[in-house]
Symmetry: C2
Subunit: 434 residues, 2 copies
């Protein structure tokens, strides 16, 4: 572990063992903290109540805790990259700082507190804000994406403390808002400065080290039609039938992109650049031909792709599909970009922080972790692209259950991730005996 | 004119001429009345304000005017046929009765006061509640469907009066509510009793005599999917893509029905039984695979078709389409019937009232009118099927502009329809000199 701060192997093995025991001893605390966080809804835009819980915990844990609302003026120059809100009143970031003993590298441990909506609660086996624990899994919206990640950070620091260690470098835990619609909270934290030598985001990576984050651009299609009374529907033009044409074209576009992308980290992923239509609204009356349709979705990018060039390509695809239809050729659909505009980002797969985190995982689990790319957008890009801070993602839970009914996290995996993060903190920042 | 009440040809020609001049003399009054009605929005469910205008006018015209709210309890047994509302408070029918001089047949002149919504107002050249008159057309929501029809009735009676005639049979003008969502208002009027020997509804028929009304059943499809984060969208199942399967099947079903229906009055109509999807809603987040979709539409029937048998057929079609899809086969979509459930209805094309109205049209216009079927549902069925009252439809305006941006009616056609209705009243009810 060339990146570890000069600890001898026996001391490090002893530290790993002591921290591991400390994490295991905090298992109930971790589960209870996660449950209490899941039980406070924190849909993007409504993070205030959950952040109060976070701030109280950080203070209890002895972190220098700051609660501050992002300033819209600071974010305005980046409005194209995050969902811009006129005000963040009632939506603070919460930052807990553990000043280092001195002489080590600094580290940011980031997690976002906001979650997506629940969808239809009746599709959940466990109510979305229950925090039910069944068979070692804790259920609820945000369980893995990513209140579990925030618990990972806080318990990791608590475990180091209770095991008798104090990091030498500064460690900053960030509970940031608005990740799901673009990451205004993390961006504001990066812009606020302070910086760090590295950052780890505990997104649910299934205990893989993620060094590349996909781009994800939210778009809206406005598809026109011509209204008519349904009794003479052939004299109208259905915006819904028009949309079918565009949807088929977008799925073909996605397939062509997947066949042509050759980023090595994305090679194992069948759908590297998903184009998803997530929301549809059309028409106003069952017995009228719908004259309008709005579709909202997201399109994926891989690192190395330029946002503006991709947007042009996407518009061209929509225009080409429209040109194949007599009505749409005369009445072209509109493409708008809105909300989260996640640029892709990556760090080298052998970046020091990635190698160090892999080493910590190997020390805890026994085998090295997968080094992977993600197809989702995340706050990683703000650290890498805006802050110039090496950033990787690593955490318990699976994105496959995020944004989904019955989102959950394995408490055993959460403990593993917590041990790995604690050891990574020690390796990266160095430790002094407390 | 065997159905006319024994008037000699010269007297009838004189009456037609005098009534025609009276209608022409009331052209400004008619345009102003229609404009004032268009300017008071009366979306289905919010008819109260417009009905006040109607009642005031009926009183001014000397009609015995009743304003009464339908009683939901009376309509409950018919809940499957009209959109059932728990209460009609603030949504009165307005009935204006002109007692006959004695010795003639009675006649109901019906028009509905409610309208559909405007759709996107920006798609209108003339604002939807403007009542703008340009090049002899009056524009606005309800201009032809069917505030114009109500004006036709009231001006027809005013013209008879000003020309010195009084009908021998009772004439009742009905301004009824809730036609667009199933006709609770007209049904309540029929159930209230009083009856009549015939009824004319001034729907916008382009001055054709309509003796057959299509059925129109509103349906809702609930189409399931399986949610997933968009970054792994292939692990979800899109309710939108599932809907495409069902929509294609419904369009094929419509085509097969059109090929097999052999009702002679519908032979000239290419799409006899339109299946329209008018409203779509799906998904909750652009970056999640949509797990739900709701589609609302209407399916058409021709007279002679049984509602329950058709509903079974429709369900079978949806089920058969779902069975072709691996996901829908396991997670079948639901079909619900809601809102307007318009049964088809017809009277013989040589029914006395149809022949009499044709004769009146021929006397005014010079040529006999087309005798046609309509593909839309209307209140006609309540008079025919529930009240046992022969009913036909005839009016100015075109259903092609109803439910549409820039709905309008030609004021010249409105005058023609008014003359025809006035003459038909005279022919049907007989007249005395006032």
């Amino acid at each position: 572990m060339e990146d570890a701060q000069g600890m001898d192997p026996a001391a490090r093995a002893d530290l790993a063992a002591r921290v591991g025991r400390a994490v295991d001893g905090l298992a109930e605390d971790a589960a209870e903290m996660l449950r209490s966080l899941v039980r406070v809804p924190s849909l993007t835009g409504s993070e205030g109540a959950a952040q109060k819980v976070v701030a109280a915990r950080m203070r209890t844990d002895g972190l220098e805790t700051e609660v501050w609302e992002p300033d819209a003026a600071d974010l305005a120059p980046y409005a194209d990259h995050v969902t811009f809100h006129e005000s963040y009143a009632g939506r603070p970031n919460v930052i807990g700082r553990l000043p280092g003993a001195g002489g080590g590298r600094s580290l940011i441990l980031n997690a976002h507190i906001d979650t997506v909506e629940t969808g239809d609660p009746s599709t959940w086996t466990h109510p979305p804000f229950s925090g039910d624990i069944v068979d070692g899994r804790l259920y609820g919206r945000g369980a893995c994406d990513m209140k579990g990640g925030l618990v990972t950070h806080l318990i990791a620091l608590a475990a180091l403390r209770s095991a008798g260690y104090r990091p030498r470098g500064d460690v900053t835990v960030q509970s940031t808002i608005s990740e799901e619609d673009g990451g205004a909270g993390a961006l504001a934290a990066v812009l606020r400065g302070g910086g760090a030598d590295g950052a780890i985001i505990t997104e649910p990576t299934r205990l893989a080290v993620i060094v590349a984050q996909g781009g994800s651009l939210m778009f809206r299609l406005r598809v026109p039609g011509r209204s008519a009374h349904a009794c003479v529907r052939d004299e109208g033009v259905s915006a819904i039938e028009n949309f079918h044409v565009l949807h088929r074209a977008l799925l073909a576009f996605e397939a062509r992109r997947n066949a042509s992308i050759d980023h090595p980290l994305y090679a194992p992923i069948a759908n590297k650049v998903p184009v998803n239509i997530g929301v549809l609204r059309a028409g106003s009356w069952p017995s009228s031909v719908p004259e309008w349709l709005e579709a909202e979705g997201r399109a994926g990018l891989v690192p190395g792709e330029d946002l503006d060039a991709f947007r042009d390509l996407f518009r061209d695809e929509v225009a080409a599909a429209a040109a194949t239809d007599p009505y749409l050729n005369e009445h072209p659909p509109a493409v708008e970009w809105f909300g989260g505009q996640f640029a892709p980002a990556e760090v080298p797969r052998d970046a020091p922080l990635a190698r160090l985190l892999s080493g910590a995982h190997a020390a805890i689990v026994g085998d090295p972790p997968p080094i992977e790319a993600a197809t989702y957008g995340a706050d990683m890009r703000h650290f890498v692209r805006v802050g110039g801070i090496p950033c990787v993602m690593y955490g318990a839970g699976d994105v496959r259950v995020a944004h989904h009914a019955d989102e959950h996290v394995s408490l055993a995996d959460l403990a593993t991730a917590t041990k790995v993060i604690a050891l990574a903190v020690a390796d990266w920042c160095g430790v002094a005996e407390a």
